[in-house]
Protein backbone atom coordinates (compact mmCIF):
# COMPACT_ATOMS: atom_id res chain seq x y z
CA UNK A 1 0.00 0.00 0.00
CA UNK A 2 1.48 3.25 -1.03
CA UNK A 3 1.80 5.93 1.58
CA UNK A 4 0.11 8.53 -0.65
CA UNK A 5 -3.01 6.36 -0.83
CA UNK A 6 -3.05 6.07 2.94
CA UNK A 7 -2.79 9.83 3.39
CA UNK A 8 -5.36 10.53 0.68
CA UNK A 9 -7.84 8.09 2.19
CA UNK A 10 -7.43 9.48 5.69
CA UNK A 11 -7.79 13.02 4.32
CA UNK A 12 -11.07 11.95 2.69
CA UNK A 13 -12.47 10.93 6.05
CA UNK A 14 -12.18 14.46 7.45
CA UNK A 15 -14.71 16.09 5.09
CA UNK A 16 -17.13 13.23 5.83
CA UNK A 17 -16.83 13.87 9.55
CA UNK A 18 -17.29 17.61 9.01
CA UNK A 19 -20.33 17.01 6.80
CA UNK A 20 -21.86 14.72 9.39
CA UNK A 21 -21.26 17.28 12.12
CA UNK A 22 -22.91 19.94 9.92
CA UNK A 23 -25.91 17.67 9.31
CA UNK A 24 -26.25 16.99 13.03
CA UNK A 25 -25.93 20.64 13.94
CA UNK A 26 -28.41 21.68 11.26
CA UNK A 27 -30.95 19.23 12.62
CA UNK A 28 -30.37 20.63 16.08
CA UNK A 29 -30.65 24.22 14.88
CA UNK A 30 -33.84 23.55 12.92
CA UNK A 31 -35.47 21.95 15.93
CA UNK A 32 -37.98 24.15 17.73
CA UNK A 33 -36.78 25.88 20.86
CA UNK A 34 -33.14 25.86 21.94
CA UNK A 35 -32.51 22.21 22.78
CA UNK A 36 -28.98 22.86 23.99
CA UNK A 37 -29.96 25.94 25.96
CA UNK A 38 -32.68 24.29 27.96
CA UNK A 39 -31.94 26.28 31.11
CA UNK A 40 -31.89 29.59 29.28
CA UNK A 41 -35.49 29.20 28.20
CA UNK A 42 -36.75 27.68 31.43
CA UNK A 43 -39.34 30.11 32.91
CA UNK A 44 -38.28 29.25 36.47
CA UNK A 45 -34.84 30.75 35.91
CA UNK A 46 -34.72 34.51 36.66
CA UNK A 47 -34.43 36.73 33.55
CA UNK A 48 -31.03 38.12 34.52
CA UNK A 49 -29.56 34.63 34.81
CA UNK A 50 -31.27 33.71 31.56
CA UNK A 51 -29.62 36.59 29.75
CA UNK A 52 -26.23 35.68 31.18
CA UNK A 53 -26.72 32.07 30.15
CA UNK A 54 -27.78 33.09 26.65
CA UNK A 55 -24.63 35.17 26.32
CA UNK A 56 -22.48 32.37 27.71
CA UNK A 57 -24.00 29.75 25.44
CA UNK A 58 -23.93 32.19 22.52
CA UNK A 59 -27.58 31.60 21.70
CA UNK A 60 -27.89 35.00 20.05
CA UNK A 61 -24.87 34.63 17.78
CA UNK A 62 -25.34 33.87 14.08
CA UNK A 63 -25.76 30.20 13.33
CA UNK A 64 -22.37 29.60 11.68
CA UNK A 65 -20.61 31.08 14.72
CA UNK A 66 -22.53 28.79 17.04
CA UNK A 67 -21.68 25.85 14.85
CA UNK A 68 -17.96 26.73 14.95
CA UNK A 69 -18.08 27.14 18.72
CA UNK A 70 -19.79 23.79 19.08
CA UNK A 71 -17.36 22.10 16.68
CA UNK A 72 -14.28 23.47 18.42
CA UNK A 73 -15.66 22.47 21.81
CA UNK A 74 -16.40 18.96 20.54
CA UNK A 75 -12.93 18.67 19.02
CA UNK A 76 -11.35 19.71 22.33
CA UNK A 77 -13.27 17.03 24.19
CA UNK A 78 -15.56 19.52 25.93
CA UNK A 79 -18.87 17.81 25.22
CA UNK A 80 -20.90 19.66 27.81
CA UNK A 81 -22.86 18.42 30.79
CA UNK A 82 -25.69 15.97 30.91
CA UNK A 83 -28.97 17.63 31.94
CA UNK A 84 -30.05 14.49 33.75
CA UNK A 85 -27.00 13.42 35.77
CA UNK A 86 -24.93 16.67 35.70
CA UNK A 87 -21.89 14.65 34.74
CA UNK A 88 -19.49 15.34 31.91
CA UNK A 89 -20.93 13.87 28.70
CA UNK A 90 -17.50 12.59 27.73
CA UNK A 91 -17.15 10.75 31.06
CA UNK A 92 -20.55 9.13 30.59
CA UNK A 93 -19.66 7.99 27.09
CA UNK A 94 -16.21 6.74 28.02
CA UNK A 95 -17.73 4.66 30.82
CA UNK A 96 -20.04 2.91 28.41
CA UNK A 97 -18.20 2.81 25.10
CA UNK A 98 -16.01 -0.25 25.94
CA UNK A 99 -19.07 -2.41 26.64
CA UNK A 100 -20.64 -1.43 23.32
CA UNK A 101 -17.43 -2.04 21.40
CA UNK A 102 -16.94 -5.44 23.04
CA UNK A 103 -20.51 -6.42 22.20
CA UNK A 104 -20.14 -5.17 18.63
CA UNK A 105 -16.75 -6.81 18.12
CA UNK A 106 -17.67 -10.25 19.43
CA UNK A 107 -20.94 -10.36 17.50
CA UNK A 108 -19.09 -9.37 14.34
CA UNK A 109 -16.68 -12.27 14.95
CA UNK A 110 -19.61 -14.63 15.50
CA UNK A 111 -21.25 -13.39 12.28
CA UNK A 112 -18.12 -14.08 10.25
CA UNK A 113 -17.61 -17.49 11.91
CA UNK A 114 -21.14 -18.49 10.90
CA UNK A 115 -21.44 -16.80 7.54
CA UNK A 116 -18.12 -17.79 5.93
CA UNK A 117 -18.34 -21.61 6.27
CA UNK A 118 -22.03 -21.67 5.37
CA UNK A 119 -21.59 -19.30 2.44
CA UNK A 120 -18.58 -21.22 1.10
CA UNK A 121 -20.29 -24.61 1.39
CA UNK A 122 -23.40 -23.20 -0.30
CA UNK A 123 -21.31 -21.83 -3.15
CA UNK A 124 -19.41 -25.10 -3.68
CA UNK A 125 -22.65 -26.81 -4.65
CA UNK A 126 -24.97 -24.08 -5.91
CA UNK A 127 -28.67 -25.02 -6.07
CA UNK A 128 -28.06 -28.12 -3.97
CA UNK A 129 -30.31 -28.96 -1.04
CA UNK A 130 -27.83 -27.45 1.44
CA UNK A 131 -27.66 -24.26 -0.61
CA UNK A 132 -31.43 -23.95 -0.73
CA UNK A 133 -31.84 -24.56 2.99
CA UNK A 134 -29.01 -22.14 3.85
CA UNK A 135 -30.54 -19.49 1.61
CA UNK A 136 -34.00 -19.86 3.08
CA UNK A 137 -32.75 -19.86 6.67
CA UNK A 138 -30.65 -16.77 5.95
CA UNK A 139 -33.68 -15.09 4.40
CA UNK A 140 -35.84 -15.84 7.41
CA UNK A 141 -32.94 -14.77 9.64
CA UNK A 142 -32.66 -11.25 8.36
CA UNK A 143 -36.42 -10.82 8.12
CA UNK A 144 -36.69 -11.42 11.86
CA UNK A 145 -36.54 -8.02 13.53
CA UNK A 146 -33.71 -7.87 16.08
CA UNK A 147 -36.02 -6.97 18.94
CA UNK A 148 -38.24 -9.97 18.24
CA UNK A 149 -35.33 -12.46 18.21
CA UNK A 150 -34.13 -10.96 21.48
CA UNK A 151 -37.56 -11.35 23.02
CA UNK A 152 -37.88 -14.93 21.76
CA UNK A 153 -34.48 -15.83 23.20
CA UNK A 154 -35.46 -14.34 26.57
CA UNK A 155 -38.74 -16.25 26.51
CA UNK A 156 -37.05 -19.56 25.72
CA UNK A 157 -33.71 -19.45 27.54
CA UNK A 158 -34.45 -17.20 30.49
CA UNK A 159 -38.10 -17.75 31.29
CA UNK A 160 -38.91 -21.28 30.06
CA UNK A 161 -35.56 -22.97 30.61
CA UNK A 162 -34.06 -20.56 33.14
CA UNK A 163 -30.55 -21.15 31.80
CA UNK A 164 -29.41 -17.60 31.16
CA UNK A 165 -30.02 -14.32 32.98
CA UNK A 166 -31.93 -11.77 30.93
CA UNK A 167 -30.85 -8.65 32.77
CA UNK A 168 -27.25 -7.72 32.24
CA UNK A 169 -25.44 -7.23 35.55
CA UNK A 170 -22.89 -4.42 35.65
CA UNK A 171 -21.22 -5.06 39.00
CA UNK A 172 -20.41 -8.74 38.96
CA UNK A 173 -19.16 -9.57 42.45
CA UNK A 174 -17.47 -12.86 41.50
CA UNK A 175 -13.72 -12.89 40.87
CA UNK A 176 -11.38 -14.92 38.70
CA UNK A 177 -12.85 -17.74 36.65
CA UNK A 178 -16.30 -17.30 38.15
CA UNK A 179 -16.33 -13.71 36.87
CA UNK A 180 -15.61 -14.92 33.35
CA UNK A 181 -18.37 -17.50 33.63
CA UNK A 182 -20.99 -14.93 34.72
CA UNK A 183 -19.91 -12.50 32.03
CA UNK A 184 -19.99 -15.27 29.45
CA UNK A 185 -23.46 -16.40 30.45
CA UNK A 186 -24.96 -12.95 30.36
CA UNK A 187 -23.27 -12.04 27.07
CA UNK A 188 -24.38 -15.07 25.06
CA UNK A 189 -27.83 -13.81 24.15
CA UNK A 190 -26.95 -10.21 23.22
CA UNK A 191 -24.03 -11.39 21.09
CA UNK A 192 -26.10 -14.13 19.47
CA UNK A 193 -28.89 -11.72 18.52
CA UNK A 194 -26.64 -9.31 16.63
CA UNK A 195 -24.19 -11.93 15.41
CA UNK A 196 -26.80 -14.22 13.89
CA UNK A 197 -28.72 -11.35 12.31
CA UNK A 198 -25.56 -9.97 10.74
CA UNK A 199 -24.43 -13.49 9.80
CA UNK A 200 -27.71 -14.17 8.01
CA UNK A 201 -27.26 -11.19 5.75
CA UNK A 202 -23.56 -11.95 5.19
CA UNK A 203 -24.19 -15.55 4.05
CA UNK A 204 -25.69 -14.42 0.75
CA UNK A 205 -22.84 -12.02 0.06
CA UNK A 206 -20.21 -14.63 0.86
CA UNK A 207 -21.97 -17.12 -1.39
CA UNK A 208 -22.24 -14.82 -4.39
CA UNK A 209 -18.70 -13.57 -3.93
CA UNK A 210 -17.43 -17.17 -3.85
CA UNK A 211 -19.42 -18.01 -6.97
CA UNK A 212 -17.76 -15.10 -8.77
CA UNK A 213 -14.33 -16.48 -7.97
CA UNK A 214 -15.07 -20.17 -8.50
CA UNK A 215 -15.74 -19.57 -12.18
CA UNK A 216 -12.46 -17.77 -12.86
CA UNK A 217 -9.82 -19.30 -15.09
CA UNK A 218 -7.09 -19.52 -12.49
CA UNK A 219 -9.27 -21.83 -10.41
CA UNK A 220 -9.73 -24.12 -13.40
CA UNK A 221 -5.96 -23.99 -13.91
CA UNK A 222 -5.33 -24.95 -10.32
CA UNK A 223 -7.69 -27.88 -10.66
CA UNK A 224 -6.13 -28.93 -13.94
CA UNK A 225 -2.73 -29.00 -12.28
CA UNK A 226 -4.11 -31.74 -10.07
CA UNK A 227 -4.35 -29.84 -6.81
CA UNK A 228 -6.88 -31.43 -4.50
CA UNK A 229 -10.30 -29.83 -4.47
CA UNK A 230 -10.11 -28.94 -0.78
CA UNK A 231 -6.78 -27.19 -1.28
CA UNK A 232 -8.07 -25.34 -4.35
CA UNK A 233 -11.05 -24.20 -2.37
CA UNK A 234 -9.16 -22.96 0.66
CA UNK A 235 -5.98 -21.63 -0.91
CA UNK A 236 -7.33 -20.28 -4.18
CA UNK A 237 -11.03 -19.59 -3.92
CA UNK A 238 -11.74 -18.60 -0.31
CA UNK A 239 -8.70 -16.38 0.03
CA UNK A 240 -9.70 -14.23 -2.91
CA UNK A 241 -13.43 -14.57 -2.53
CA UNK A 242 -13.40 -13.10 0.95
CA UNK A 243 -11.84 -9.80 -0.09
CA UNK A 244 -15.08 -8.13 -1.24
CA UNK A 245 -16.79 -9.36 1.94
CA UNK A 246 -14.61 -6.94 3.92
CA UNK A 247 -16.31 -4.02 2.17
CA UNK A 248 -19.75 -5.54 2.63
CA UNK A 249 -19.20 -5.85 6.36
CA UNK A 250 -18.28 -2.16 6.41
CA UNK A 251 -21.29 -1.13 4.31
CA UNK A 252 -23.62 -2.85 6.75
CA UNK A 253 -22.19 -1.08 9.79
CA UNK A 254 -24.92 1.57 10.10
CA UNK A 255 -27.53 -1.20 10.22
CA UNK A 256 -25.51 -3.26 12.69
CA UNK A 257 -25.23 -0.28 15.02
CA UNK A 258 -29.01 -0.03 14.94
CA UNK A 259 -29.11 -3.68 15.99
CA UNK A 260 -26.72 -3.09 18.89
CA UNK A 261 -28.84 -0.20 20.20
CA UNK A 262 -31.94 -2.40 20.26
CA UNK A 263 -30.09 -5.32 21.79
CA UNK A 264 -28.51 -3.19 24.50
CA UNK A 265 -31.95 -1.88 25.31
CA UNK A 266 -33.59 -5.32 25.50
CA UNK A 267 -30.91 -6.94 27.63
CA UNK A 268 -30.15 -3.79 29.63
CA UNK A 269 -26.52 -3.87 28.53
CA UNK A 270 -24.91 -0.66 29.85
CA UNK A 271 -23.49 0.54 26.52
CA UNK A 272 -23.85 3.80 24.61
CA UNK A 273 -26.95 2.45 22.84
CA UNK A 274 -28.96 2.17 26.02
CA UNK A 275 -27.46 5.52 27.10
CA UNK A 276 -28.91 7.02 23.91
CA UNK A 277 -32.38 5.64 24.55
CA UNK A 278 -32.46 6.66 28.20
CA UNK A 279 -31.25 10.17 27.36
CA UNK A 280 -33.91 10.53 24.69
CA UNK A 281 -36.60 9.49 27.13
CA UNK A 282 -35.14 11.95 29.67
CA UNK A 283 -34.85 14.77 27.07
CA UNK A 284 -31.10 14.99 27.74
CA UNK A 285 -30.05 16.76 24.53
CA UNK A 286 -26.25 17.07 25.03
CA UNK A 287 -25.95 13.32 25.59
CA UNK A 288 -28.23 12.50 22.66
CA UNK A 289 -26.19 14.68 20.32
CA UNK A 290 -22.87 13.33 21.57
CA UNK A 291 -23.87 9.67 21.31
CA UNK A 292 -25.25 10.17 17.80
CA UNK A 293 -22.00 11.84 16.82
CA UNK A 294 -19.98 8.99 18.36
CA UNK A 295 -21.93 6.48 16.28
CA UNK A 296 -21.33 8.55 13.16
CA UNK A 297 -17.60 8.72 13.93
CA UNK A 298 -17.46 4.97 14.48
CA UNK A 299 -19.06 4.37 11.09
CA UNK A 300 -16.59 6.69 9.37
CA UNK A 301 -13.55 5.22 11.14
CA UNK A 302 -14.54 1.61 10.60
CA UNK A 303 -15.22 2.33 6.94
CA UNK A 304 -11.77 3.88 6.69
CA UNK A 305 -10.31 0.83 8.36
CA UNK A 306 -12.15 -1.49 5.97
CA UNK A 307 -10.92 0.47 2.96
CA UNK A 308 -7.32 0.26 4.13
CA UNK A 309 -7.71 -3.43 4.89
CA UNK A 310 -9.13 -3.95 1.42
CA UNK A 311 -6.13 -2.33 -0.22
CA UNK A 312 -3.80 -4.39 1.92
CA UNK A 313 -5.62 -7.60 0.96
CA UNK A 314 -6.01 -6.72 -2.70
CA UNK A 315 -2.96 -4.80 -3.98
CA UNK A 316 -4.57 -4.23 -7.40
CA UNK A 317 -6.67 -1.43 -5.91
CA UNK A 318 -3.74 0.79 -4.91
CA UNK A 319 -2.72 1.24 -8.56
CA UNK A 320 -5.31 3.98 -8.92
Amino acid sequence: MSRSYLIRRIALAIPSLLAISIILYTILALAPGDPLGDLATNPNVPPAVQLALRAKLGLDDPIWQRYLHWLIAMAQGDWGFSFASHENVSTLIMQRLPVSLALFGSSEVLAVLVAVPVGVLAAVRPYSLFDKIANTVAFVGFSLPTFFIGLLLILVFSIKLDWLPFVFETNVSARGLAWWWVEFKQSIMPIAVIGLFQGASLVRYVRSSMLDVIRLDYVTTARAKGIGSRRVLIRHVVRNGLIPVVTLVAVQLPIVFGGTIITEQIFRVPGIGSLLISSILAADTPVVMAVTFVYACLVVFLNLFADLLYVWLDPRIALR
Partner: protein
Protein backbone atom coordinates in the same frame (compact mmCIF):
# COMPACT_ATOMS: atom_id res chain seq x y z
CA UNK B 1 -29.70 -6.04 -7.63
CA UNK B 2 -29.89 -8.38 -10.51
CA UNK B 3 -26.24 -9.30 -10.15
CA UNK B 4 -26.47 -10.62 -6.61
CA UNK B 5 -26.84 -14.21 -7.74
CA UNK B 6 -24.27 -14.37 -10.49
CA UNK B 7 -24.47 -18.08 -11.05
CA UNK B 8 -28.07 -17.85 -12.15
CA UNK B 9 -28.66 -19.65 -15.39
CA UNK B 10 -28.55 -17.11 -18.16
CA UNK B 11 -29.53 -17.32 -21.80
CA UNK B 12 -25.95 -17.92 -22.93
CA UNK B 13 -25.37 -20.64 -20.38
CA UNK B 14 -28.45 -22.61 -21.28
CA UNK B 15 -27.80 -22.51 -24.99
CA UNK B 16 -29.87 -21.73 -28.03
CA UNK B 17 -32.01 -24.86 -27.91
CA UNK B 18 -33.47 -24.17 -24.51
CA UNK B 19 -33.73 -20.45 -25.13
CA UNK B 20 -35.73 -21.04 -28.28
CA UNK B 21 -38.33 -23.13 -26.51
CA UNK B 22 -40.28 -20.33 -24.81
CA UNK B 23 -40.32 -18.39 -28.04
CA UNK B 24 -42.46 -21.04 -29.65
CA UNK B 25 -45.37 -20.09 -27.38
CA UNK B 26 -47.72 -17.28 -28.19
CA UNK B 27 -46.20 -13.94 -27.14
CA UNK B 28 -47.36 -12.75 -23.71
CA UNK B 29 -47.78 -9.20 -22.51
CA UNK B 30 -45.00 -8.08 -20.14
CA UNK B 31 -47.35 -8.30 -17.15
CA UNK B 32 -48.38 -11.83 -18.07
CA UNK B 33 -44.80 -12.83 -18.60
CA UNK B 34 -43.80 -11.38 -15.23
CA UNK B 35 -46.66 -13.21 -13.53
CA UNK B 36 -45.69 -16.47 -15.22
CA UNK B 37 -42.15 -16.07 -13.92
CA UNK B 38 -43.29 -14.92 -10.48
CA UNK B 39 -45.39 -18.08 -10.07
CA UNK B 40 -42.27 -20.20 -10.42
CA UNK B 41 -41.01 -18.84 -7.07
CA UNK B 42 -43.11 -21.00 -4.79
CA UNK B 43 -42.26 -19.21 -1.54
CA UNK B 44 -43.06 -15.88 -3.14
CA UNK B 45 -46.49 -17.11 -4.18
CA UNK B 46 -47.16 -18.46 -0.68
CA UNK B 47 -45.98 -15.12 0.71
CA UNK B 48 -48.31 -13.25 -1.62
CA UNK B 49 -51.22 -15.27 -0.25
CA UNK B 50 -50.07 -14.61 3.33
CA UNK B 51 -49.72 -10.90 2.66
CA UNK B 52 -53.14 -10.71 1.01
CA UNK B 53 -54.57 -12.46 4.09
CA UNK B 54 -52.84 -9.98 6.41
CA UNK B 55 -53.96 -6.94 4.42
CA UNK B 56 -57.46 -8.34 4.01
CA UNK B 57 -57.65 -9.16 7.71
CA UNK B 58 -56.50 -5.69 8.68
CA UNK B 59 -58.96 -3.98 6.35
CA UNK B 60 -61.96 -6.24 6.94
CA UNK B 61 -61.05 -7.02 10.55
CA UNK B 62 -63.07 -4.26 12.24
CA UNK B 63 -66.20 -5.57 10.49
CA UNK B 64 -65.64 -9.19 11.50
CA UNK B 65 -64.33 -8.45 14.98
CA UNK B 66 -66.11 -5.34 16.23
CA UNK B 67 -64.63 -5.38 19.76
CA UNK B 68 -63.29 -1.86 20.47
CA UNK B 69 -59.52 -1.55 20.94
CA UNK B 70 -59.79 0.39 24.19
CA UNK B 71 -62.54 -1.47 26.08
CA UNK B 72 -60.93 -1.85 29.50
CA UNK B 73 -61.98 -4.97 31.41
CA UNK B 74 -60.15 -5.50 34.69
CA UNK B 75 -61.87 -8.85 35.15
CA UNK B 76 -59.96 -10.20 32.15
CA UNK B 77 -56.41 -8.94 32.62
CA UNK B 78 -53.44 -10.69 30.97
CA UNK B 79 -55.55 -13.65 29.87
CA UNK B 80 -54.19 -16.12 27.36
CA UNK B 81 -56.01 -16.92 24.12
CA UNK B 82 -59.63 -18.01 24.62
CA UNK B 83 -62.92 -17.95 22.67
CA UNK B 84 -63.76 -14.57 24.14
CA UNK B 85 -60.36 -13.14 23.23
CA UNK B 86 -58.69 -15.22 20.49
CA UNK B 87 -55.34 -13.49 21.05
CA UNK B 88 -55.72 -12.93 24.78
CA UNK B 89 -55.82 -9.63 26.61
CA UNK B 90 -53.28 -7.09 27.88
CA UNK B 91 -52.69 -5.62 31.32
CA UNK B 92 -55.83 -3.50 31.10
CA UNK B 93 -57.93 -6.36 29.80
CA UNK B 94 -58.08 -4.84 26.32
CA UNK B 95 -58.71 -7.30 23.51
CA UNK B 96 -55.44 -8.04 21.70
CA UNK B 97 -57.01 -9.22 18.44
CA UNK B 98 -58.80 -5.91 17.99
CA UNK B 99 -55.58 -4.08 18.82
CA UNK B 100 -53.61 -6.26 16.37
CA UNK B 101 -56.07 -5.43 13.60
CA UNK B 102 -55.83 -1.73 14.37
CA UNK B 103 -52.05 -1.85 14.74
CA UNK B 104 -51.71 -3.66 11.43
CA UNK B 105 -53.41 -0.78 9.68
CA UNK B 106 -50.90 1.66 11.21
CA UNK B 107 -47.84 -0.49 10.60
CA UNK B 108 -48.75 -1.28 6.99
CA UNK B 109 -49.73 2.34 6.29
CA UNK B 110 -46.40 3.57 7.67
CA UNK B 111 -44.58 0.95 5.60
CA UNK B 112 -46.27 1.89 2.33
CA UNK B 113 -46.12 5.65 2.92
CA UNK B 114 -42.44 5.61 3.92
CA UNK B 115 -41.69 3.45 0.88
CA UNK B 116 -43.38 6.04 -1.36
CA UNK B 117 -41.26 8.81 0.15
CA UNK B 118 -38.08 6.75 -0.27
CA UNK B 119 -38.94 5.76 -3.85
CA UNK B 120 -39.84 9.33 -4.80
CA UNK B 121 -36.61 10.82 -3.47
CA UNK B 122 -34.49 7.88 -4.62
CA UNK B 123 -35.82 7.84 -8.19
CA UNK B 124 -35.57 11.62 -8.43
CA UNK B 125 -31.96 11.76 -7.21
CA UNK B 126 -30.97 8.68 -9.20
CA UNK B 127 -32.57 9.93 -12.41
CA UNK B 128 -31.11 13.44 -12.17
CA UNK B 129 -27.73 12.02 -11.29
CA UNK B 130 -27.82 9.44 -14.07
CA UNK B 131 -28.88 11.93 -16.73
CA UNK B 132 -26.82 14.93 -15.66
CA UNK B 133 -23.36 13.35 -15.23
CA UNK B 134 -20.39 15.57 -14.52
CA UNK B 135 -20.45 17.87 -11.50
CA UNK B 136 -24.10 17.46 -10.57
CA UNK B 137 -23.73 13.70 -10.67
CA UNK B 138 -20.62 13.78 -8.52
CA UNK B 139 -22.22 16.10 -5.99
CA UNK B 140 -25.41 14.06 -5.75
CA UNK B 141 -23.50 10.82 -5.34
CA UNK B 142 -21.35 12.41 -2.65
CA UNK B 143 -24.50 13.38 -0.78
CA UNK B 144 -25.84 9.86 -1.26
CA UNK B 145 -22.67 8.31 0.13
CA UNK B 146 -22.78 10.73 3.03
CA UNK B 147 -26.31 9.68 3.89
CA UNK B 148 -25.32 6.03 3.56
CA UNK B 149 -22.60 6.53 6.15
CA UNK B 150 -24.98 8.12 8.65
CA UNK B 151 -25.94 5.86 11.53
CA UNK B 152 -29.60 5.30 10.74
CA UNK B 153 -31.20 4.43 14.04
CA UNK B 154 -29.50 7.08 16.21
CA UNK B 155 -30.41 9.72 13.65
CA UNK B 156 -34.01 8.49 13.44
CA UNK B 157 -34.23 8.69 17.21
CA UNK B 158 -32.63 12.14 17.28
CA UNK B 159 -34.97 13.54 14.63
CA UNK B 160 -38.08 12.18 16.25
CA UNK B 161 -36.94 13.35 19.66
CA UNK B 162 -36.33 16.90 18.44
CA UNK B 163 -39.29 17.46 16.13
CA UNK B 164 -42.00 15.43 17.74
CA UNK B 165 -43.41 18.20 19.97
CA UNK B 166 -43.65 20.80 17.21
CA UNK B 167 -45.38 18.51 14.72
CA UNK B 168 -47.79 17.23 17.32
CA UNK B 169 -48.87 20.79 18.01
CA UNK B 170 -49.53 21.39 14.32
CA UNK B 171 -51.02 18.08 13.20
CA UNK B 172 -52.35 16.52 16.38
CA UNK B 173 -50.74 13.70 18.36
CA UNK B 174 -51.51 10.88 15.94
CA UNK B 175 -51.13 12.78 12.66
CA UNK B 176 -47.94 14.50 13.80
CA UNK B 177 -46.10 11.36 14.79
CA UNK B 178 -47.35 9.54 11.67
CA UNK B 179 -46.07 12.23 9.30
CA UNK B 180 -42.81 12.51 11.22
CA UNK B 181 -42.13 8.78 11.23
CA UNK B 182 -42.99 8.40 7.55
CA UNK B 183 -40.89 11.36 6.41
CA UNK B 184 -37.92 10.48 8.59
CA UNK B 185 -37.88 6.78 7.68
CA UNK B 186 -38.41 7.55 3.99
CA UNK B 187 -35.86 10.35 4.11
CA UNK B 188 -33.17 8.06 5.50
CA UNK B 189 -33.82 5.10 3.19
CA UNK B 190 -33.73 6.54 -0.34
CA UNK B 191 -30.00 6.09 -0.93
CA UNK B 192 -29.86 2.48 -2.16
CA UNK B 193 -32.66 3.28 -4.59
CA UNK B 194 -30.89 6.38 -5.88
CA UNK B 195 -27.75 4.38 -6.58
CA UNK B 196 -29.72 1.61 -8.25
CA UNK B 197 -31.68 3.99 -10.49
CA UNK B 198 -28.53 5.93 -11.38
CA UNK B 199 -26.72 2.73 -12.38
CA UNK B 200 -29.70 1.73 -14.54
CA UNK B 201 -29.78 5.16 -16.16
CA UNK B 202 -26.06 5.16 -16.87
CA UNK B 203 -26.26 1.88 -18.74
CA UNK B 204 -29.63 2.49 -20.40
CA UNK B 205 -28.87 5.95 -21.78
CA UNK B 206 -26.08 4.54 -23.94
CA UNK B 207 -28.28 1.79 -25.40
CA UNK B 208 -29.17 1.84 -29.10
CA UNK B 209 -32.88 2.36 -28.64
CA UNK B 210 -32.26 5.50 -26.61
CA UNK B 211 -29.78 6.70 -29.19
CA UNK B 212 -32.37 6.06 -31.88
CA UNK B 213 -34.98 8.06 -29.99
CA UNK B 214 -32.46 10.85 -29.50
CA UNK B 215 -31.63 10.81 -33.18
CA UNK B 216 -35.33 11.15 -33.98
CA UNK B 217 -35.29 14.37 -31.99
CA UNK B 218 -36.86 13.28 -28.70
CA UNK B 219 -36.42 15.80 -25.92
CA UNK B 220 -34.50 14.87 -22.80
CA UNK B 221 -37.68 14.70 -20.77
CA UNK B 222 -39.29 12.40 -23.32
CA UNK B 223 -36.20 10.19 -23.37
CA UNK B 224 -36.39 9.82 -19.63
CA UNK B 225 -40.13 9.37 -19.27
CA UNK B 226 -40.87 7.22 -22.33
CA UNK B 227 -37.71 5.25 -22.92
CA UNK B 228 -35.35 5.07 -19.96
CA UNK B 229 -37.65 5.13 -16.97
CA UNK B 230 -39.88 2.20 -17.98
CA UNK B 231 -36.80 0.04 -18.47
CA UNK B 232 -35.25 1.12 -15.20
CA UNK B 233 -38.36 0.43 -13.16
CA UNK B 234 -37.83 -3.32 -12.61
CA UNK B 235 -35.07 -3.05 -10.00
CA UNK B 236 -36.76 0.01 -8.50
CA UNK B 237 -39.98 -1.96 -7.99
CA UNK B 238 -38.04 -4.76 -6.30
CA UNK B 239 -36.17 -2.32 -4.05
CA UNK B 240 -39.41 -0.48 -3.30
CA UNK B 241 -41.11 -3.71 -2.21
CA UNK B 242 -38.29 -4.52 0.17
CA UNK B 243 -38.37 -0.93 1.39
CA UNK B 244 -41.91 -1.51 2.69
CA UNK B 245 -40.57 -4.32 4.87
CA UNK B 246 -37.66 -2.17 6.06
CA UNK B 247 -40.00 0.68 6.93
CA UNK B 248 -42.26 -1.64 8.91
CA UNK B 249 -39.21 -2.85 10.85
CA UNK B 250 -38.03 0.73 11.39
CA UNK B 251 -41.43 1.85 12.69
CA UNK B 252 -41.72 -1.18 14.97
CA UNK B 253 -38.21 -0.52 16.25
CA UNK B 254 -39.04 3.09 17.12
CA UNK B 255 -42.26 2.12 18.82
CA UNK B 256 -40.50 -0.75 20.54
CA UNK B 257 -37.94 1.67 21.97
CA UNK B 258 -40.76 3.84 23.26
CA UNK B 259 -40.24 6.80 20.92
CA UNK B 260 -42.79 5.90 18.25
CA UNK B 261 -46.54 5.94 18.53
CA UNK B 262 -48.20 6.81 21.86
CA UNK B 263 -49.87 4.01 23.89
CA UNK B 264 -53.37 4.75 22.64
CA UNK B 265 -52.21 4.07 19.07
CA UNK B 266 -51.27 0.40 19.30
CA UNK B 267 -49.02 -0.19 16.32
CA UNK B 268 -47.44 -3.65 16.38
CA UNK B 269 -44.16 -2.31 17.73
CA UNK B 270 -45.94 -0.30 20.41
CA UNK B 271 -47.81 -3.42 21.56
CA UNK B 272 -44.50 -5.24 21.90
CA UNK B 273 -43.07 -2.35 23.92
CA UNK B 274 -46.07 -2.35 26.26
CA UNK B 275 -45.82 -6.12 26.72
CA UNK B 276 -42.18 -6.06 27.83
CA UNK B 277 -42.87 -5.69 31.54
CA UNK B 278 -45.30 -8.60 31.51
CA UNK B 279 -43.36 -10.96 29.28
CA UNK B 280 -42.96 -13.45 32.13
CA UNK B 281 -46.66 -13.61 33.01
CA UNK B 282 -48.22 -13.11 29.61
CA UNK B 283 -45.88 -14.15 26.78
CA UNK B 284 -48.82 -14.28 24.34
CA UNK B 285 -49.01 -10.47 24.53
CA UNK B 286 -45.52 -10.22 23.01
CA UNK B 287 -45.77 -13.21 20.69
CA UNK B 288 -48.81 -12.13 18.67
CA UNK B 289 -47.62 -8.66 17.56
CA UNK B 290 -44.06 -9.96 17.17
CA UNK B 291 -45.20 -12.75 14.89
CA UNK B 292 -47.38 -10.31 12.97
CA UNK B 293 -44.37 -8.09 12.26
CA UNK B 294 -42.25 -11.10 11.36
CA UNK B 295 -44.88 -12.59 9.02
CA UNK B 296 -45.54 -9.30 7.27
CA UNK B 297 -41.83 -8.54 6.83
CA UNK B 298 -40.93 -12.06 5.72
CA UNK B 299 -43.73 -12.28 3.17
CA UNK B 300 -42.89 -8.86 1.74
CA UNK B 301 -39.23 -9.83 1.47
CA UNK B 302 -40.10 -13.08 -0.31
CA UNK B 303 -42.40 -11.23 -2.69
CA UNK B 304 -39.53 -8.88 -3.43
CA UNK B 305 -37.33 -11.88 -4.14
CA UNK B 306 -39.97 -13.32 -6.47
CA UNK B 307 -40.35 -10.00 -8.25
CA UNK B 308 -36.59 -9.88 -8.73
CA UNK B 309 -36.77 -13.16 -10.61
CA UNK B 310 -39.87 -12.08 -12.48
CA UNK B 311 -38.69 -8.63 -13.59
CA UNK B 312 -35.12 -9.44 -14.58
CA UNK B 313 -35.30 -10.26 -18.29
CA UNK B 314 -31.80 -11.74 -18.30
CA UNK B 315 -32.80 -14.60 -16.05
CA UNK B 316 -34.36 -17.62 -17.65
CA UNK B 317 -36.87 -19.38 -15.47
Amino acid sequence: MSGSIPASPSVEAIGPAAAAAPRARAPLSPTHEAWRRFRKHRLAVVSLVVLILIVGGVLAGPLLWPTPIDAIDFAAMLQGPSWMHPCGTDALGQDLLARLIYGGKISLAVGVAAMLVAVFVGVLVGAVSGMASGRIDAALMWVTDMFLALPQLPLLLLLIYLFRGALERVLGVQGGIFVLIVVVIGGLRWMPLARLVRAQFLSLREKEFVEAARALGASKLRLVVRHIMPNAMGPAIVAGTIEVANAIIAESTLSFLGVGFPPDVPSWGRMLYDSLDYVQMAPHWALFPGSAIFLAVLSINFIGDGLRDALDPRRVI
